[in-house]
Symmetry: none
Subunit: 120 residues, 2 copies
DNA sequence: CATACAGTGAACCATATGGTTCACTATCAG
DNA sequence: CTGATAGTGAACCATATGGTTCACTGTATG
Protein backbone atom coordinates (compact mmCIF):
# COMPACT_ATOMS: atom_id res chain seq x y z
CA UNK A 1 0.00 0.00 0.00
CA UNK A 2 3.02 2.24 -0.26
CA UNK A 3 2.05 3.36 -3.73
CA UNK A 4 -1.51 4.02 -2.79
CA UNK A 5 -0.99 7.59 -1.59
CA UNK A 6 1.34 8.48 -4.43
CA UNK A 7 -1.21 7.17 -6.89
CA UNK A 8 -3.99 9.24 -5.37
CA UNK A 9 -1.66 12.23 -5.51
CA UNK A 10 -0.96 11.65 -9.18
CA UNK A 11 -4.55 11.01 -10.15
CA UNK A 12 -6.09 13.93 -8.31
CA UNK A 13 -3.35 16.18 -9.65
CA UNK A 14 -4.05 14.92 -13.16
CA UNK A 15 -7.74 15.65 -12.70
CA UNK A 16 -7.14 19.12 -11.30
CA UNK A 17 -6.55 20.64 -14.72
CA UNK A 18 -9.50 21.58 -16.88
CA UNK A 19 -7.68 20.76 -20.11
CA UNK A 20 -6.83 17.29 -18.95
CA UNK A 21 -10.39 16.62 -17.84
CA UNK A 22 -11.42 17.80 -21.29
CA UNK A 23 -9.00 15.37 -22.91
CA UNK A 24 -10.46 12.51 -20.90
CA UNK A 25 -13.96 13.45 -22.00
CA UNK A 26 -12.79 13.70 -25.58
CA UNK A 27 -11.15 10.30 -25.44
CA UNK A 28 -14.34 8.94 -23.96
CA UNK A 29 -15.94 9.68 -27.30
CA UNK A 30 -13.17 8.40 -29.52
CA UNK A 31 -9.45 7.86 -29.65
CA UNK A 32 -7.38 10.79 -30.87
CA UNK A 33 -3.89 11.75 -31.95
CA UNK A 34 -1.81 14.40 -30.23
CA UNK A 35 -2.51 16.68 -33.18
CA UNK A 36 -6.27 16.18 -32.85
CA UNK A 37 -6.18 17.05 -29.17
CA UNK A 38 -3.81 19.98 -29.61
CA UNK A 39 -6.15 21.50 -32.17
CA UNK A 40 -9.29 20.93 -30.15
CA UNK A 41 -7.75 22.60 -27.10
CA UNK A 42 -5.91 25.36 -28.98
CA UNK A 43 -2.49 24.42 -27.84
CA UNK A 44 0.88 23.52 -29.33
CA UNK A 45 1.73 19.90 -29.97
CA UNK A 46 4.40 20.12 -27.31
CA UNK A 47 1.96 21.47 -24.74
CA UNK A 48 -0.59 18.77 -25.43
CA UNK A 49 2.08 16.11 -25.38
CA UNK A 50 2.89 17.13 -21.82
CA UNK A 51 -0.74 16.86 -20.72
CA UNK A 52 -1.05 13.46 -22.32
CA UNK A 53 2.13 12.37 -20.55
CA UNK A 54 0.67 13.42 -17.21
CA UNK A 55 -2.50 11.47 -17.89
CA UNK A 56 -0.49 8.48 -19.04
CA UNK A 57 1.65 8.65 -15.90
CA UNK A 58 -1.51 8.54 -13.83
CA UNK A 59 -2.65 5.49 -15.77
CA UNK A 60 -5.72 7.28 -17.08
CA UNK A 61 -4.63 7.19 -20.70
CA UNK A 62 -2.73 4.73 -22.88
CA UNK A 63 -0.90 5.79 -26.01
CA UNK A 64 0.66 3.93 -28.86
CA UNK A 65 2.72 5.32 -31.66
CA UNK A 66 2.33 3.74 -35.05
CA UNK A 67 4.12 5.36 -37.92
CA UNK A 68 4.46 8.99 -37.03
CA UNK A 69 1.16 9.38 -35.20
CA UNK A 70 0.63 8.64 -31.54
CA UNK A 71 -2.88 7.52 -30.77
CA UNK A 72 -4.30 8.17 -27.32
CA UNK A 73 -7.13 6.26 -25.70
CA UNK A 74 -8.60 5.85 -22.26
CA UNK A 75 -6.48 3.72 -19.97
CA UNK A 76 -7.51 0.65 -18.08
CA UNK A 77 -7.64 2.36 -14.68
CA UNK A 78 -11.21 3.15 -13.85
CA UNK A 79 -10.84 5.55 -10.93
CA UNK A 80 -12.11 3.00 -8.46
CA UNK A 81 -9.69 4.11 -5.79
CA UNK A 82 -10.48 7.74 -6.21
CA UNK A 83 -14.20 7.06 -6.26
CA UNK A 84 -13.78 4.98 -3.12
CA UNK A 85 -11.83 7.70 -1.36
CA UNK A 86 -14.38 10.34 -2.20
CA UNK A 87 -17.28 8.08 -1.33
CA UNK A 88 -15.72 7.29 2.02
CA UNK A 89 -15.38 10.94 2.82
CA UNK A 90 -18.76 11.80 1.47
CA UNK A 91 -20.05 9.38 4.07
CA UNK A 92 -18.04 11.11 6.76
CA UNK A 93 -19.56 14.38 5.73
CA UNK A 94 -23.02 12.90 5.68
CA UNK A 95 -22.62 11.34 9.07
CA UNK A 96 -21.47 14.57 10.55
CA UNK A 97 -24.15 16.72 9.03
CA UNK A 98 -26.77 14.05 9.05
CA UNK A 99 -28.22 15.22 5.77
CA UNK A 100 -29.41 13.11 2.90
CA UNK A 101 -27.83 13.65 -0.44
CA UNK A 102 -30.34 13.99 -3.21
CA UNK A 103 -27.83 14.06 -6.03
CA UNK A 104 -26.30 10.73 -5.20
CA UNK A 105 -29.73 9.20 -4.95
CA UNK A 106 -30.43 10.51 -8.42
CA UNK A 107 -27.15 9.12 -9.64
CA UNK A 108 -27.90 5.76 -8.12
CA UNK A 109 -31.33 5.64 -9.72
CA UNK A 110 -29.82 6.67 -13.02
CA UNK A 111 -27.15 4.00 -12.71
CA UNK A 112 -29.75 1.36 -12.01
CA UNK A 113 -31.78 2.49 -14.99
CA UNK A 114 -28.68 2.43 -17.16
CA UNK A 115 -27.78 -1.01 -15.95
CA UNK A 116 -31.28 -2.24 -16.64
CA UNK A 117 -31.22 -0.75 -20.11
CA UNK A 118 -27.87 -2.33 -20.80
CA UNK A 119 -29.07 -5.73 -19.65
CA UNK A 120 -31.89 -5.85 -22.17
CA UNK B 1 -21.65 26.80 -15.11
CA UNK B 2 -18.66 29.10 -15.32
CA UNK B 3 -17.60 28.36 -11.78
CA UNK B 4 -18.10 24.67 -12.14
CA UNK B 5 -14.76 23.98 -13.78
CA UNK B 6 -12.85 26.27 -11.46
CA UNK B 7 -14.39 24.52 -8.49
CA UNK B 8 -13.41 21.10 -9.79
CA UNK B 9 -9.92 22.48 -10.34
CA UNK B 10 -9.72 23.73 -6.77
CA UNK B 11 -11.13 20.61 -5.20
CA UNK B 12 -9.05 18.09 -7.10
CA UNK B 13 -5.98 20.21 -6.46
CA UNK B 14 -6.83 20.30 -2.76
CA UNK B 15 -7.20 16.52 -2.74
CA UNK B 16 -3.95 15.95 -4.61
CA UNK B 17 -1.83 16.48 -1.51
CA UNK B 18 -1.37 13.67 0.95
CA UNK B 19 -1.19 16.00 3.95
CA UNK B 20 -4.46 17.67 3.07
CA UNK B 21 -6.20 14.34 2.59
CA UNK B 22 -4.83 13.43 6.00
CA UNK B 23 -6.25 16.59 7.50
CA UNK B 24 -9.67 15.79 6.09
CA UNK B 25 -9.53 12.32 7.59
CA UNK B 26 -8.42 13.78 10.89
CA UNK B 27 -11.26 16.28 10.90
CA UNK B 28 -13.63 13.45 10.09
CA UNK B 29 -12.82 12.11 13.54
CA UNK B 30 -12.96 15.35 15.45
CA UNK B 31 -12.48 19.07 15.06
CA UNK B 32 -8.97 20.36 15.62
CA UNK B 33 -6.97 23.54 16.04
CA UNK B 34 -4.15 24.59 13.74
CA UNK B 35 -1.71 23.63 16.48
CA UNK B 36 -3.24 20.14 16.78
CA UNK B 37 -2.94 19.56 13.06
CA UNK B 38 0.55 21.03 12.79
CA UNK B 39 1.78 18.67 15.49
CA UNK B 40 0.11 15.61 14.04
CA UNK B 41 1.63 16.26 10.63
CA UNK B 42 5.02 17.44 11.88
CA UNK B 43 4.85 20.84 10.36
CA UNK B 44 5.12 24.46 11.40
CA UNK B 45 1.98 26.37 12.31
CA UNK B 46 2.48 28.53 9.25
CA UNK B 47 2.74 25.54 6.97
CA UNK B 48 -0.40 23.94 8.34
CA UNK B 49 -2.24 27.22 8.16
CA UNK B 50 -1.59 27.28 4.43
CA UNK B 51 -2.97 23.79 3.93
CA UNK B 52 -6.05 24.64 5.95
CA UNK B 53 -6.52 27.76 3.85
CA UNK B 54 -6.40 25.70 0.67
CA UNK B 55 -9.00 23.30 2.05
CA UNK B 56 -11.15 26.20 3.19
CA UNK B 57 -10.86 27.84 -0.22
CA UNK B 58 -12.13 24.63 -1.79
CA UNK B 59 -15.05 24.64 0.66
CA UNK B 60 -13.97 21.37 2.20
CA UNK B 61 -13.21 22.84 5.61
CA UNK B 62 -14.72 25.59 7.73
CA UNK B 63 -12.76 27.39 10.41
CA UNK B 64 -13.70 29.72 13.20
CA UNK B 65 -11.40 31.60 15.48
CA UNK B 66 -12.48 32.05 19.04
CA UNK B 67 -10.05 33.65 21.42
CA UNK B 68 -6.63 32.86 20.10
CA UNK B 69 -7.39 29.39 18.74
CA UNK B 70 -8.81 28.68 15.30
CA UNK B 71 -10.92 25.56 15.18
CA UNK B 72 -11.19 23.63 11.94
CA UNK B 73 -14.00 21.29 11.00
CA UNK B 74 -15.31 19.63 7.88
CA UNK B 75 -17.11 22.00 5.56
CA UNK B 76 -20.57 21.71 4.15
CA UNK B 77 -19.47 20.73 0.67
CA UNK B 78 -19.74 17.03 0.28
CA UNK B 79 -17.84 16.35 -2.92
CA UNK B 80 -21.02 15.71 -4.87
CA UNK B 81 -19.67 17.28 -8.01
CA UNK B 82 -16.41 15.46 -7.82
CA UNK B 83 -18.13 12.17 -7.11
CA UNK B 84 -20.45 12.83 -10.03
CA UNK B 85 -17.58 13.65 -12.35
CA UNK B 86 -15.66 10.53 -11.42
CA UNK B 87 -18.74 8.37 -11.56
CA UNK B 88 -19.59 9.71 -14.99
CA UNK B 89 -16.17 8.81 -16.26
CA UNK B 90 -16.14 5.47 -14.56
CA UNK B 91 -19.24 4.78 -16.60
CA UNK B 92 -17.51 5.96 -19.74
CA UNK B 93 -14.68 3.60 -19.05
CA UNK B 94 -17.09 0.79 -18.32
CA UNK B 95 -19.09 1.50 -21.43
CA UNK B 96 -15.98 1.27 -23.55
CA UNK B 97 -14.93 -1.99 -21.98
CA UNK B 98 -18.40 -3.39 -22.38
CA UNK B 99 -18.23 -2.47 -26.03
CA UNK B 100 -14.90 -4.21 -26.30
CA UNK B 101 -16.29 -7.31 -24.60
CA UNK B 102 -19.17 -7.30 -27.02
CA UNK B 103 -16.79 -7.06 -29.95
CA UNK B 104 -14.72 -9.93 -28.66
CA UNK B 105 -17.85 -12.02 -28.17
CA UNK B 106 -18.92 -11.29 -31.70
CA UNK B 107 -15.51 -12.23 -32.99
CA UNK B 108 -15.65 -15.45 -31.04
CA UNK B 109 -19.05 -16.33 -32.43
CA UNK B 110 -17.88 -15.51 -35.92
CA UNK B 111 -14.82 -17.67 -35.46
CA UNK B 112 -16.93 -20.58 -34.33
CA UNK B 113 -19.23 -20.16 -37.28
CA UNK B 114 -16.29 -20.02 -39.64
CA UNK B 115 -14.80 -23.12 -38.12
CA UNK B 116 -18.10 -24.92 -38.50
CA UNK B 117 -18.43 -23.84 -42.08
CA UNK B 118 -14.92 -24.96 -42.86
CA UNK B 119 -15.53 -28.36 -41.32
CA UNK B 120 -18.35 -29.14 -43.66
C1' DC C 1 2.34 43.60 34.77
C1' DA C 2 5.07 39.81 32.63
C1' DT C 3 5.36 35.95 30.21
C1' DA C 4 3.78 32.27 27.48
C1' DC C 5 0.85 30.64 23.78
C1' DA C 6 -1.92 30.50 19.05
C1' DG C 7 -2.02 32.28 15.06
C1' DT C 8 -0.76 35.41 11.12
C1' DG C 9 1.73 37.71 7.39
C1' DA C 10 5.75 38.79 4.81
C1' DA C 11 9.77 37.27 2.83
C1' DC C 12 12.28 33.75 1.08
C1' DC C 13 13.59 29.23 -1.15
C1' DA C 14 13.45 25.12 -4.11
C1' DT C 15 10.82 22.73 -7.04
C1' DA C 16 6.72 21.85 -9.96
C1' DT C 17 3.39 23.33 -13.50
C1' DG C 18 1.60 24.96 -17.77
C1' DG C 19 2.83 26.91 -21.41
C1' DT C 20 5.87 28.57 -25.31
C1' DT C 21 9.65 28.48 -29.21
C1' DC C 22 13.14 26.25 -31.76
C1' DA C 23 15.74 22.67 -33.65
C1' DC C 24 15.49 18.00 -34.65
C1' DT C 25 13.98 13.11 -36.19
C1' DA C 26 11.13 10.06 -38.46
C1' DT C 27 7.60 8.99 -41.58
C1' DC C 28 4.52 9.59 -45.34
C1' DA C 29 3.11 11.28 -50.19
C1' DG C 30 4.17 12.64 -54.72
C1' DC D 1 14.68 12.72 -53.90
C1' DT D 2 11.70 16.46 -51.97
C1' DG D 3 8.47 18.36 -49.15
C1' DA D 4 5.14 18.27 -45.88
C1' DT D 5 3.49 16.19 -41.51
C1' DA D 6 3.61 14.31 -36.49
C1' DG D 7 5.89 14.15 -32.77
C1' DT D 8 9.84 14.92 -29.50
C1' DG D 9 13.24 17.13 -26.49
C1' DA D 10 15.66 20.96 -24.67
C1' DA D 11 15.58 25.42 -23.16
C1' DC D 12 13.14 29.00 -21.39
C1' DC D 13 9.54 31.77 -18.87
C1' DA D 14 6.02 33.11 -15.51
C1' DT D 15 3.49 31.60 -11.95
C1' DA D 16 2.08 28.26 -8.35
C1' DT D 17 3.16 25.10 -4.52
C1' DG D 18 4.90 23.41 -0.24
C1' DG D 19 7.65 24.47 2.91
C1' DT D 20 10.60 27.38 6.06
C1' DT D 21 12.06 31.48 9.33
C1' DC D 22 11.22 35.73 11.55
C1' DA D 23 8.78 39.47 13.35
C1' DC D 24 4.43 40.59 14.87
C1' DT D 25 -0.52 40.77 17.11
C1' DG D 26 -3.73 39.31 20.17
C1' DT D 27 -5.14 36.43 24.05
C1' DA D 28 -4.51 33.90 28.33
C1' DT D 29 -2.64 33.27 32.75
C1' DG D 30 0.35 33.47 37.01
Amino acid sequence: MVHYQARLDATFAALSDVTRRGVLEQLGGSDASITDLAQRFHMTLTGMKKHVSVLEQAGLVITEKVGRVRTCKLGSRRLEEEAAWIEQHRQLWSARFDALDELVEQLKRKEKADAKRKRR
